[in-house]
């Protein structure tokens, strides 16, 4: 049996998007937490926890996009026009939010609030439209031949909009638990308070999506509830509940000690479970419900050429990215930075 390049590429793109959700998830979450922390000093601290790494975090989104173009050009050429407006709105939101990192510290006192608003608005809109795109993607994309056959507003439907809110909740929880890990004192206490309701909201969102998905799509219902799949998949909801219980307990702290890393790690676990659940539901389609990874694949000469480099370079990227996080490890104070 030969190596199935398309399966390997599906896994790599799954991984790239997952890294993006994890990493940019928490820094988008920080933008959505700004309204909960009106003090300038707190906001400076929050920004400084991610300022050295946000650019790398967003690069995973670019890898997801260009990887898709390289390995599955047909999927790229259908999904991107299919999700046209939500994606463009997300990109414009990322423009506002990305520049806020630099501009906020360069702005004069009286104009700083503008970039705070750009950061909040950009983070909210980017998260929401990512969720909408995800929801619309799971909802199915109309295809004829090798191109998108739906209308410009197909994404404006209940499920994608709910998914948009779900992703906002998930990112906010990631951001709050990240800050529990990276800050101290009053700000940390505030984040512990914020994280709790968002954890419960996320549990609610996961429940809604988990019930809605099989109801909407009989194929998914069949996959989830038929034997033996149900045996393999049963641990997923159980693990979700376990993570949630542990997360709430970790946030409460133990013996008067403040929570540190556990809440963030457990929140990552929750995101991983939800994300994997979705991937299992659509496998092996890359444009649900009609196009499989093999139908969308680029020729082996393209997939193979790109794979050689990816397998060598990706571990190196993970190494120096890890090193960069390590350099900036530990708690962050307000006036850190080069500004």
């Amino acid at each position: 049996m030969g190596i199935d390049l398309s399966i390997i590429w599906a896994v790599i793109i799954f991984f790239a998007v997952f890294m993006y959700v994890l990493l940019d998830g928490f820094d988008l979450g920080i933008g959505m937490l700004f309204p909960f922390t009106p003090k300038k000093r707190d906001r400076d601290t929050m920004m400084n926890t991610v300022a050295p790494v946000w650019d790398g975090n967003e690069t995973w989104l670019v890898l997801g996009g260009e990887g898709l173009l390289a390995a599955f050009p047909v999927a790229y050429a259908i999904i991107l026009p299919g999700l046209y407006l939500p994606l463009i709105l997300m990109l414009v939101a990322l423009v506002f939010r990305g520049v806020a990192f630099e501009f906020r510290f360069k702005a004069k006192e009286h104009e700083r609030h503008l970039w705070d608003k750009a950061f909040i608005g950009g983070s909210v809109a980017a998260s929401f439209f990512q969720g909408v795109s995800l929801g619309a993607f799971l909802d199915g994309i109309a295809v004829s031949g090798r191109s998108y056959a739906g209308g410009p507003l197909d994404w404006f439907a209940p499920f994608p909009l709910v998914a948009g809110v779900g992703v906002m909740i998930a990112y906010t929880l990631l951001g709050a638990t990240w800050l529990v890990m990276k800050t101290e004192g009053e700000l940390q206490a505030r984040m512990i308070q914020v994280a709790r309701p968002f954890a419960l909201l996320l549990l609610g969102a996961i429940a809604v999506v988990s019930v809605w998905t099989p109801l909407r799509d009989p194929a998914v219902a069949d996959r989830w509830f038929s034997f033996p799949n149900i045996v393999f998949l049963a641990p997923v909801p159980i693990l979700v509940l376990l993570c949630m219980v542990l997360l709430l307990r970790a946030l409460a702290g133990k013996d008067g000690r403040l929570p540190f890393r556990q809440p963030f790690v457990l929140a990552l676990g929750l995101i991983f479970l939800g994300y994997t659940g979705m991937a299992i539901s659509i496998w092996p389609h890359i444009v649900p419900p009609s196009i499989s990874i093999w139908e969308a694949a680029s020729p082996p000469a393209s997939q193979g050429f790109t794979l050689v480099g990816t397998l060598v370079i990706l571990p190196i990227i993970l190494m120096y990215t890890g090193w960069s996080y390590w350099v900036f490890r530990g708690k962050v104070k307000a006036d850190a930075g080069y500004h």
Binding site: L69, Y76, L85, V327, Y338
Partner: protein
């Protein structure tokens, strides 16, 4: 929408977002290398002036880089959202090149940028220098891949068409396509010139206001050496690039020259001025130098060059745009050479920092690199029309199936957002330049920050107060004594 077709709007949108985007990499490619040189000079000599300049330009670099990243993410997705048929048809060839750009360049830049910007007190000096170099190398690797992809679209080879799609046959032929080396060198040099002009223009601004200090002088001097050496090289590279275009994209060259037809036995003049008219098929008010077109392009007295009438009307690029954008680029290039030459002349007798007319010229030339780069890209991109993959896929066939309403709405969104965001960014950059290089406290005690200290902090003490000329790397009070 307003008489524009979906294709027009998609093209305007791409041209608009791309034109904004290219300005930022144009600055950061040159600036990253400049920063690496400054840090190396500091490590070698220990002179405070280099570290002051490093931290001054680092701030400007960071803002520009941030704008480049966010506008670049838009580009990464716009190929799919707006040009889906191109993605599907040519994605198997272009996709891997762009994926390699992300893997080998974007991650490298992003991974080390954090350390470069924020790691001054957290890693050792050598390691910090390595981070700066990695960012600089990242920008060059990025240029290599993106110019590879663009050049391949201009001069495609190494592919076959199977099942209505392009498939790669020979990756080396694809990457090292005929126009790639010229384009890559031309663009990287253009980025270096852009940085030299910005640095020189900033120094000139301060000198004109009487702010004469070692840091400003160093900026001026380094920028002018760069210009003196590199601007003439760029002219030679540009000439080679032109001959390459003559060979591989003859219609583009005919449009650049505003040259409509060859008459047997007649030499081709070099038109200096004229208004190419696509409807009347002639260049009005043409003013040219006889024989020079033949001499430059064919190195003979009566050589014939491609003419627009050799091509069907629907295969001709718009000569009016290309003719003038090309002349704008070349004209600015000649002014750059002049500025460099003048600076050399003024160095004798030390008049470089005080000659007001020269300083004003340098100030006005500050943005010339950016304008020339835009003009150059307009020349090459409009010049390849009506093809998106030259001779293989027409632009009109590459566009996504969106309605004009969707595209008009997103175009409006981009215009409003970009003018606001990048307008503010430009204002911040100018404000920082106006502030000028400040004294950077090397032994600054960190006021709390992420992570523990990795380098022992030197105590701030009076004994360390030295001026620039003594190599006061340890910091001090007065670092910019006026030099008489």
């Amino acid at each position: 929408m307003f008489g524009f077709t979906a294709l027009d709007l998609a093209r305007i949108q791409f041209a608009f977002t791309m034109s904004f985007h290219i300005l930022f990499p144009a600055i950061t490619i040159g600036m990253a290398s400049y920063l690496a040189v400054l840090e190396l000079c500091w490590l070698r000599t220990g002179r405070q002036v280099f570290v002051d300049l490093y931290h001054f330009w680092l701030k400007i670099f960071a803002v520009t880089f941030g704008m480049g990243v966010v506008s670049g993410i838009v580009m990464a997705y716009q190929i799919g959202t707006n040009w889906s048929y191109l993605s599907e048809f040519a994605g198997s060839v272009m996709g891997p090149l762009l994926a390699y750009e992300v893997l080998t360049a974007f991650f490298l830049e992003a991974g080390f940028l954090g350390v470069m910007l924020f790691g001054w007190n957290r890693v050792g000096r050598e390691l910090h220098f390595v981070a700066t170099c990695m960012v600089a190398i990242g920008t060059l690797i990025s240029s290599t891949w993106i110019l590879g992809a663009n050049s391949w679209m201009q001069t495609p080879q190494g592919y076959a068409i199977e099942g209505g799609r392009m498939v790669p046959v020979d990756w080396l032929a694809i990457i090292f396509n005929p126009s790639f080396p010229y384009r890559l060198v031309h663009m990287v040099i253009a980025a270096y010139l852009t940085t030299a002009l910005l640095v020189g223009g900033s120094a000139a601004w301060h000198l004109l206001r009487g702010r004469d200090n070692p840091a400003v002088r160093k900026m001026m001097s380094m920028a002018m050496w760069m210009l003196l050496i590199v601007a003439p090289i760029q002219a030679v590279v540009g000439d080679f690039h032109g001959l390459n275009t003559l060979k591989h994209q003859p219609a583009k060259l005919a449009a650049m020259e505003g040259h409509w037809e060859n008459r047997p036995g007649h030499a081709v003049p070099l038109l200096l001025f004229g208004i190419p008219d696509m409807e009347e098929e002639r260049t009005k008010y043409a003013v040219g130098i006889p024989y020079l077109g033949s001499i430059i392009l064919t190195h003979t007295l009566d050589g014939q060059v491609p003419a627009l009438k050799d091509f069907a009307p629907e295969d001709r690029p718009n000569s009016l745009i290309v003719f003038w954008s090309f002349r704008l680029m070349v004209g600015l290039g000649l002014l750059m050479i002049a500025l460099g030459a003048w600076s050399l002349f003024l160095r004798r007798g030390g008049r470089l920092f005080g000659h007001r007319l020269f300083l004003r010229f340098a100030l006005w030339m500050g943005p010339a690199g950016l304008v020339a780069i835009l003009a150059g890209w307009v020349t090459t991109e409009v010049g390849r029309q009506p093809w998106v993959v030259y001779g293989v896929l027409r632009t009109a066939d590459a566009v996504s199936p969106h309605g004009a309403a969707s595209l008009g709405l997103t175009l409006l969104l981009f215009v409003v957002a970009y003018l606001f965001v990048f307008g503010a960014g430009t204002a911040y950059v100018l404000r920082m330049i106006r502030k000028g290089p400040q004294h950077f406290e090397l032994a600054r005690a960190p006021e709390g920050g992420p992570g523990e200290e990795r380098t022992p902090m030197r105590p701030l003490s009076a004994a360390d107060v030295k001026n620039d000329e003594d190599g006061g790397a340890a910091g001090g009070a007065d670092h910019h004594p006026p030099r008489s």
